[in-house]
């Protein structure tokens, strides 16, 4: 049943991105940055986790989740290790995703070539 929430919340967040695309004419890079910052803010104010309880993948799969886990890592590490934690924590929690994106991009770039649009 929670798949309904995943679908609704995930779809709604993506639709917000589309709203930005249509009404402000911004590029996709700016949209990604905006949503990462939203994620960081949600986590900083402690709102992310309650939403995540209900929405699950609906908020973790959008790039908001990426921002949130950056902030979460930085906050937790800062609280346990002090100042250095603020520097190391964020990338530690998100390292998997970034590394995977780099690796797969590299591999597929070696294999495939760009095709024209139709």
């Amino acid at each position: 049943m929670y798949y309904l929430w995943v679908f609704l919340i995930g779809g709604f967040i993506c639709m917000l991105g589309e709203v930005l695309l249509i009404y402000t004419n911004i590029t996709s890079a700016r949209i990604l940055v905006t949503f990462v910052l939203i994620g960081v803010l949600l986590q900083a104010f402690g709102i992310f986790d309650p939403i995540s309880q209900i929405a699950r993948a609906g908020i973790n799969v959008p790039i908001i989740g990426f921002g949130a886990s950056l902030a979460k890592g930085a906050i937790m590490a800062a609280q346990s290790k002090g100042l250095i934690g603020a520097f190391t924590g964020g990338l530690e929690t998100t390292a998997g995703g970034i590394a995977a994106a780099i690796l797969f991009a590299f591999i597929f770039a070696l294999i495939f070539r760009s095709k024209t649009k139709s």
Binding site: E18, L32, P62, Q79, A105
Partner: protein
């Protein structure tokens, strides 16, 4: 003369803005909702499967594997030239999920392949996604430091 030109340009910009054909936003909003929702459900499905197969795995690790799987799928679809077709249909629906992040790293990497591995793939990989990582990291460090003091 300067003022005149400014006025003329402003008037022209207003005129052009009014002239641009208005498209109905509803179809594209619906498409982005649909595709975004489906991608999120796919992520949830992968996450559930991982937890079924490896019941002892911590939730955080399971999420990491989920995201890596999604990133892999998106990078592959980008490579075979399907992701941009999904993107054309879905707009925000395929940009906002983590798959859009993967697409924005893989697409320039493939595009600039001809400039060589170092100057092409490696250098250009972050032309679009670079700002995401920079802004995310900078803001998370600031948030971490703020949390030190409260």
């Amino acid at each position: 003369m300067q003022v005149d030109e400014k006025k003329r340009n402003e008037a022209y910009n207003r005129y052009v803005k009014a002239k641009i054909p208005k498209t109905k936003p509803w179809p594209s909003l619906f498409n982005s909702f649909l595709v975004g929702g489906i991608i999120c459900c796919l992520g949830q499905g992968i996450n559930d499967l991982i937890l079924i197969w490896f019941p002892n795995m911590s939730e955080q690790t399971a999420w990491a594997y989920t995201l890596i799987t999604l990133i892999f799928i998106a990078a592959f679809l980008t490579g075979i030239g399907i992701y941009d077709k999904i993107g054309k249909f879905a707009g925000g629906g395929s940009i906002v999920p983590i798959t859009g992040f993967s697409n924005s790293i893989t697409s320039p990497a493939i595009e600039f392949k001809h400039e060589g591995i170092i100057y092409g793939i490696c250098v250009k990989m972050f032309t679009i996604a670079g700002p995401v990582i920079v802004c995310g990291v900078v803001s998370s460090i600031i948030v971490g430091i703020i949390y030190l003091f409260i």
